[in-house]
């Protein structure tokens, strides 16, 4: 068995048009009219010549039956082609959309990051010491990102194989509970610090009062 899969959407679309035209031609009235004419002629000739034509009805019936089957099969072929084209077009659109999305994310990530240059290696040549082109870290990042895209595209293909009700349902990202709790706690801590820090910001009246209390505590009045 040959497992090399291939889908040529452009050719399939052209074939769909051909099959639809064929289907229309089969379903128009001319074929049915021709068969009805043959039946009518044979009935007339039989009337004039003492029922000399026998068993033709069976042949005509089988002709009509085969034509009906042909119409059904052509119609089914058109429907199947249409469905196949639609499904594969959706998959292509999906892949293209996600590729664009991932590439945009990649671009913005690269723009926001600091591009560190690795020290330039120095090589010796016949003409003397020559510097090599600086090695940029961006291509390395791009390579990693490209691997990510490839993985995502694979995920899209797998996603397209999923049952329809599960398709296109991407679960919302949820922060792990422990991390959330830690963050909340740390925020509380920061607020308490902030509150303590704000003790210094007191009104002049209270500052005066505080000063008195502090002075009493150190017996400053006595000293005075």
């Amino acid at each position: 068995m040959n497992n090399q899969n291939s889908v040529d959407l452009e050719k399939l679309t052209n074939s769909l048009k051909v099959v639809e035209v064929a289907n229309d031609n089969l379903n128009n009235m001319s074929l049915s009219n021709i068969i009805m004419d043959i039946d009518s002629d044979l009935t007339k000739w039989n009337f004039e010549h003492g029922n000399c034509f026998k068993d033709y009805k069976e042949v005509l019936d089988s002709l009509i039956k085969e034509l009906d089957n042909l119409k059904v099969e052509t119609s089914e072929l058109a429907k199947s082609l249409g469905k196949t084209i639609s499904n594969f077009s959706n998959i292509e659109k999906n892949i293209s959309f996600r590729k664009t999305d991932l590439l945009n994310n990649l671009s913005s990530a690269v723009e926001n990051s600091n591009v560190n240059k690795i020290p330039e290696p120095v090589t010796e040549t016949d003409s003397g010491i020559q510097e090599q082109d600086p090695i940029n870290t961006v291509p390395v990042g791009l390579g990693i990102a490209a691997s990510g895209i490839a993985g995502s595209v694979g995920a899209v293909i797998v996603d397209s194989m999923m049952p329809s009700e599960q398709k296109d349902v991407i679960p919302d990202y949820e922060e792990p509970t422990e991390i959330v709790e830690k963050v909340e706690k740390s925020e509380e801590f920061d607020e308490s610090i902030a509150r303590e820090e704000k003790f210094d910001d007191v009104s002049p009246y209270h500052a005066e009062r505080n000063k008195e209390v502090i002075d009493k505590f150190y017996d400053k009045e006595d000293n005075n």
């Binding site: 889908v7 050719k11 010549h49 072929l77």
Partner: protein, 167 residues
């Protein structure tokens, strides 16, 4: 004894079964059907050979559904054309047999009519002989007229018989 009306009807060549007309009629219908079938077949064959209905255009896990259905349709078109040819052959075969039957019936009927008229002639001549002998009631001119008319009828019937044999 053959009916005179029947002979008159059958001696008109247009009233006999016209197998050439039937053949032409059926051929026209076959041409129309084959034209529709051939158009369908040719366009599908092109798609099967080079287009989206060939094996490579839709090949999933060893299956080529489009190609398979298209080939099935192409076979069905050939089946329909064959049925139509079979119908034509059957009708023409029966038309040939019917023509032969009608020709034989016509010859037999005319031959019987000739015999009938010859008997009338013979009887009338016998009557003339008796009238001559008895100086009878009807004139000899009237008898001569009957004999002349009957002889003419026999001559015409024999001409028809020759024409019927030539059909």
């Amino acid at each position: 004894m053959a009916e005179v009306d029947w002979i008159t009807w059958k001696t008109d060549p247009k009233e006999l079964i016209d197998k050439e007309k039937i053949e032409s009629n059926l051929n026209n219908k076959t041409t129309e059907i084959n034209s529709i079938m051939d158009n369908l077949s040719n366009s599908l064959k092109l798609e099967v050979e080079k287009g989206g209905l060939n094996k490579e255009s839709l090949h999933i896990n060893g299956e080529t559904p489009g190609n398979e259905v298209a080939n099935k349709i192409l076979n069905k078109i050939e089946v329909i054309k064959n049925i139509n040819t079979k119908l034509n052959n059957k009708i023409m075969d029966q038309a040939n047999k019917q023509k032969q039957v009608e020709k034989e019936q016509l010859i037999t009927a005319i031959e019987e009519k000739v015999i009938e008229q010859e008997k009338i002639l013979e009887n009338t001549k016998a009557l003339r002989d008796r009238l001559t002998a008895n100086n009878g009631l009807i004139s000899s001119n009237e008898v001569e007229s009957i004999i002349h008319t009957t002889e003419e009828k026999i001559t015409m019937l024999k001409e028809r018989l020759e024409r019927a044999k030539a059909i």
